[in-house]
Amino acid sequence: MSDLMKVSSNPHVRSKVTTSSIMLAVVIALLPAAGFGIYNFGLDALILIVVTVATTVCTEYAYGKLMNRKTTIGDYSAVVTGLLLALNLPSSAPWWIGVIGGVFAILVVKMLFGGLGQNFMNPALAARCFLLVSFTSIMTNFDCDTYTGATPLAALKSGEGVDILKMVVGRTSGTIGETSMIAIVIGACFLVLLGVIDLRIPGSYIVTFVLFLCLFGGHGVDVAFISAHLAGGGLMLGAFFMATDYVTRPITKAGQYVFGILLGILTGIFRIFGPSAEGVSYAIIIGNLLVPLIEKATLPKAFGFKGGKRA
């Protein structure tokens, strides 16, 4: 009997794409940024990354065991969360920062709300903001063996000149994974080519942000200023890896553009008018909270309906 004659219930065509294959692709895409971070900041960065990833995975495993649920560490989502969180920490942070952040991200933000797919905000970013509010001095201390002084964005904010070439390559201070624009873009290209993410959110995010800078940045259309803002801080990492998180982005296509535009405006407001130099993580978290609203407003109309009524 041929396959065509088999009678079975749907789905009839099974995709090879699974949660774990997508998460694995994201982990691979983050490796260039992580690798450059380790090269840039040395052994401290490696230890912090390993500790954070181990914490997130162990927390998820322990939660599954304690609650008598099927353990979910096999889908690699905890690895992605841990890696993203570690890339958002300064290399000078002590190891227990990674542990607290990892436990908070997995336990409070993800598992207590029902695990992967139920979390209403990005766990890594929520943990970063938690740490930023709790341990402000540790989280904003970017001094390490290689670099001292302000991050490029902070220097930009106070009106000093910055070396854009160094910022694009990533030989500056900052969090472990955010410094190198090139490494992040390599990973992002890999994800786009695989079809894991598309450019709707990152594209509208970055374009809106650039427009905002031109309008309100105080420098007009200044290429050097704009490219410094694009290469500096967590914008690239946030736009490609965190705003595009499947769970916390809008499902509808129109909603994804709205989401990107919203993030661009919020990031612009935080960076230009806010007291601190960086605002990507807060922008994405606020955007995450607005996702249900965006989805409701951009619900596509069913075929044959016009303006809510049947045509």
């Binding site: 607290i100 409070v108 938690f130 509010v133 709790s134 341990f135 402000t136 540790i138």
Partner: protein, 268 residues
Amino acid sequence: MSKNGKEGSYGGSSMERLYNGLVKENPTFVLMLGMCPTLAVTTSAMNGLGMGLTTMVVLALSNMIISLLRGIIPDKVRIPAFIVVIASFVTMVELLLEGFLPALYDALGLYIPLIVVNCIILGRAEAYASKNPVIPSLFDGIGMGLGFSFALTCIGAVRELIGAGEIFGLHIMPDSYVPCAIFIMAPGAFFVLAALTAIQNKIRINGEKKGRDMSKIQSGCNEDCMNCGEKGCSHRFYGASGSPEKESGNGRRGKNAQAVNADGKGRE
């Protein structure tokens, strides 16, 4: 009204009222009342305890006075009457605090006058004191106040311990401990309240598994389901006993709530 309508039939002894307020119907962890001061002033154990005890004094005294006046206050203006009584006590307590405990007065600030609209006090006046004799009402106020103080002190202690490494101002964490500042800010109140409520629920569920009676004492049920905010109360849908006879009574209540109100008042 039926069996529950009789005065004091569900009041129980004074000790039972205390236990009810502290554990079974803890205003913070079980009834989830008075969240505003709970979240706002518990930045330290001392502030929590101060707020709790201040509220307890007002709660016990206002419960007592309202219980004494329960035959005089007309049903239609009972809420303004309760508020006048409560506000008088809050004003006294405020002046006393300002005179004798200025540090606590400064720390609690705006939240002392706000005790007037604390829904625990108004809730106990409405649900218990206005229907029960003086002594049980007084002990109900003390029990509820103790439960509130206990909850606020717990929340304050946990927040102070994690957020500043201290309890009641005593430095108890080792010097190497880095305080987690978010816990003495507003979000920390939500984290701690949620965690403590979860622990309390766990204790209740474990107790039920072992066969202990952990249900709330139906202290305030006057079978007036139209004006009762008690969530998860089965009376609302199934009548007091769930029997068909009761259900027909339910229908009557739904249609003529006003008439039943008058009826309910008549029982006194």
